[in-house]
Symmetry: C2
Subunit: 214 residues, 2 copies
């Protein structure tokens, strides 16, 4: 649960599905961490999570290769026409997230992992696609104890941002408590890839985004 | 490269295969860390590695569930007859290792990952088996950039410990610089699962282990 819209919606879906929630928050020295952390805590309270685990994976900033974690790379202005891999790509980030989540799930006996990956064409991250999640599921099944049966759910993977807004409103997701901007300063920049996707989503859903923009 | 025999042999094999070595060392707050780290540094010098990355994954100790990382669980005396999962099992540890290795490999353009997993029957860790590595390879292929083609090699996965000793001697692995004991104190305890496997391996190879035991 990052503090963003997608994982907030996943938490709401997991609750609707009848689960109690153990919320994993990953800090990876990204520029947005302080704001994301604040939103994570508020969302965790909102959803009444029964366990929280905050894991510092700042090795991703040592590994670099992404504008989100490497201070030598500028956060690119939104270029949603660009079909290549965006500069905010952190190599294989979701595998790191899912490996940690699986370790924790096996340790506490959780039967399911909800991840808010979305494979919207414009994002272009290879590790948000269903083909990756399916492969990782095989690794989870093969790499845990025989009696462990953890299922990875990607309930929003095929949703457009506008559908995330609409479904979230239906499930009572407090979008005013979420943060999407790649920069940490408030108000949100409104210019980075993530702000553009968010704003476009609210516009397409015909709903006003409750957070403030520059 | 942990500081143990298996990853030391993998490094020797990677060198023999013509690769320059970027060595990843993972510290996960295990009892053995100080001794393993010392051995890692000596082995890295020995093999002339061109890059080193040390990543602290002490979240595995927060997650717990293993005697290696959870100080509330006693390190079990060797019980190699026991066919179950040993108490030193860290849930899904190798997936965490491979996820970090893959992120780093993609960032630096490394074409191969060598991992010293061995699926010797007596170890019983689900994430050391070939079926797990094969599944993880699919996740790596699916979850990295299209132009990235990282191959995971498990050159010793089917070897018995005695074969690791024999092959290592043939490739000049300095076993005196390696550490296997689950406890951190020198000399090695000679009683934990890992010491027992090591001693049994040297005995079966008809070679004397160069390190000291209690």
């Amino acid at each position: 649960m990052s503090g963003g819209m997608d994982s907030a919606l996943c938490a709401a879906i997991a609750k609707r599905d009848g689960y109690r929630i153990a919320a994993l928050h990953l800090s990876y020295a990204q520029r947005t961490e302080s704001k994301e952390r604040e939103c994570f805590e508020k969302l965790a309270d909102h959803f009444g999570v029964v366990k929280k685990l905050i894991v510092d994976i700042d090795y991703l900033s040592k590994i670099g290769g992404s504008s989100l974690t490497d201070n030598n790379i500028e956060v690119a202005r939104a270029d949603l026409q660009n079909s290549g891999i965006p500069s905010s790509y952190v190599p294989f980030r979701n595998a790191n997230m899912l490996a940690i989540a699986t370790s924790w799930a096996e340790a506490i006996g959780a039967p399911a992992i909800y991840i808010g990956a979305i494979q919207e064409d414009s994002s272009g991250y290879p590790d948000t696609r269903k083909v990756f999640i399916d492969a990782f599921q095989l690794a989870v099944t093969a790499g845990t104890k025989p009696e462990t049966n953890i299922i990875i759910y990607t309930p929003i993977i095929d949703l457009a941002k506008s559908e995330i807004v609409t479904m979230g409103l239906g499930l009572g997701v407090p979008f005013g408590l979420t943060w999407s901007c790649y920069k940490s300063c408030e108000p949100a920049c409104g210019q980075c890839d993530s702000c553009m996707l968010r704003l476009r989503g609210f516009a397409a859903a015909g709903i006003e985004d409750p957070i403030r923009y520059r």
